[in-house]
């Protein structure tokens, strides 16, 4: 692992950005300023940031309904993100998609997805496109432990495996499929074990450890670029908030949550970076300050943005 100080600080800053973005989103949603559904990524920041750190511009990502973190990690614009959450014309999707459908094709970001497990075959296709073009591109699919029970998981991993597609399947095992804990929804401890069924390498990592995720992804991306086929990475982590904002979270204990909060991926990364002298307390404080103001700017931008014109209702149903 050869991470420069600059790169480390960039990754750290992204994790902080995700955290602040999501906390503000929770607040705005509670105030009724954001309509619809939002699913927040708080607590899982290390996975998105650790994996996406390896991606090049021409690589692809398929995200999930809990997708804000992936886009921020990919360098998404928080202004356009907030604007989309607010349903404004200036949003990523001109207010037509909302939280669950944010996409940025210019970043190879094939979108969040309202259907659990839908991204898996999509990313097989994107990976095929990379291979077809022969441009060393790779495609990463994020999905949850819940999605690993869907048929798409099986079909996509099998197809990617037989065709040796440059795909990285990243299972964000946050221990819950909506309200159902992992032990209630699958009879295995490690989703990574399923890789064997497709003749793929499967690796299970501590998803709250940025460096562990980073290392696992580094290997997987290398394999993919080398034409060795896909890898299944299971990143064990935890979502601090409910499945969606407004979830009464009756299916888990406060003790469990507090125990996971002690394993806060941002705190752990900060500690390690401070231990290695990459980050000082002052610098950390400055980063948070900067991020907060950037986020505030994004919120202001969104709030001051116009709503989409009603005439746009029928636009973009088809390509002309």
């Amino acid at each position: 692992m050869a991470l420069s100080q600059e790169k480390l600080l960039e990754l750290y800053r992204k994790m902080v950005t995700i955290r602040v973005f999501e906390e503000n989103t929770a607040e705005l949603f509670a105030k009724g300023e954001i309509p619809g559904f939002v699913h927040l990524y708080v607590g899982e920041e290390a996975t998105a940031v650790g994996v996406i750190a390896h991606l090049k511009d021409h690589d692809y990502i398929a995200s999930t309904h809990r997708g804000h973190g992936h886009l921020i990690a990919r360098g998404g614009d928080v202004k356009q993100m907030y604007a989309e959450l607010f349903g404004r014309k200036t949003g990523y999707c001109k207010g037509k998609g909302g939280s669950m459908h944010i996409a940025d094709l210019s970043l190879g970001f094939l979108g969040a997805n309202g259907i659990v497990g839908a991204g898996l075959p999509l990313i097989a296709g994107a990976a095929f496109a990379c291979k077809y073009r022969g441009d060393d591109g790779v495609a990463v699919c994020f999905f949850g432990d819940g999605a690993s029970n869907r048929g798409t998981f099986h079909e996509a991993l099998n197809m990617a495996s037989i065709w040796k597609l440059p795909a990285i399947f990243v299972c964000e095992n946050n221990m819950y499929a909506i309200s159902l804990s992992q032990e209630l929804h699958q009879n295995i401890d490690d989703v990574a074990d399923r890789a064997a069924a497709y003749g793929l390498p499967g690796i299970s990592v501590d998803g709250n450890d940025l460096f562990a995720v980073y290392e696992a992804a580094e290997e997987a991306v290398k394999r993919a670029r080398n034409g060795d086929g896909p890898t299944l990475i299971e990143s064990k982590t935890y979502r601090w908030r409910g499945h969606f904002e407004g979830d009464p979270v009756v299916y888990r204990t406060e003790e469990e949550l507090q125990a996971w909060k002690k394993k806060d991926p941002i705190e752990r990364a900060k500690k390690r970076m401070m231990e290695t002298g990459v980050l000082t307390e002052e610098e950390d404080k400055a980063i948070w300050e900067e991020v907060r103001s950037e986020i505030q700017e994004g919120i202001e931008f969104a709030k001051n943005s116009p709503l989409p014109e009603e005439e746009s209702l029928l636009e973009d149903v088809y390509c002309e």
């Binding site: 097989a124 296709g125 495609a139 079909e155 973009d316 088809y318």
Partner: protein
Amino acid sequence: MPEMTYLEAINTALREEMSRDPSVFVLGEDVGVFGGCFGVTQGLLDAFGPERVLDTPISETAIIGASVGAAAAGLRPVAEIMFMDFMGVCMDEIFNQAAKIRYMFGGKAAIPMTLRTPCGAGLGAAAQHSQSMEAWFAHIPGLKVVMPSTPADAKGLLTSAIRDDNPVIFIEHKMLYGVKGSVPDGEYAIPLGKGDVKREGSDVTVVATSLMVHKALAAAETLAEEGVEVEVVDPRCLVPLDQDTILKSVAKTGKLVVVHEAVKSGGIGGEIAAIVAEEGFDFLDAPIRRIGAPFAPIPFASNLEKAYIPSEETIIEAVRSLA
């Protein structure tokens, strides 16, 4: 113009488009070595190699999901679902992904994919290998739905479907694969959404799709002997639907029979009838008649299957009741 079968016309369109545009590739179950379940992709593997003619596992979800992903990533996949009846398996990829991505993403993505699939009864293939489910897809904004009835239309429309930047459901009728007809040589593209008057007549308009176009034409011949001139309109595309051609014809004849092989209730015929009732009410000189299959799964026994499929006689009867 060379004579060729409907199947050869589709094959020709695939070859021509693959030759013309390197981003076009074909995937599906048994489309490679086997040449496709009905032989539509015969010879493509030899011509274009395994990189562009992909035999997939029996994974309809992955076939369509991967097509959507590849299309989003800039390729032009032409996927084959072996029987239309299997489309329920990959329905999410069609109606929640392919159809909606562009809109959900605010117009920032395009899904230029074509999904070819054979529909139709007549082979004794029973309830899960004979259906005509076009109405499902015509109900979904974001998809285009094409149903060619002749070899020439098949070539011209498939060419346009592949070039179209939208997901197109291209529905072939398995009983038409062997039907011969003249097909224009070389590049031939028929714009999607343009209906075709297959036979001109002044007395009754019959709007028919796919195989039913041929039954309507045969019925028209019989009726002409009785002095009833039937105009047969083939919309060719259900989405976008050429309402003008239909309305123009009804404005002329005042009478409309809509025929499709799919189950009558909830079928596209109801949509066409409703459009005419809404937009062309004053043209009507008689109630609109719809002809479709009865509200039952498709039976196996050949006599039952024959009774199930709308027949030339049924069309004749319906026209007579209006003429």
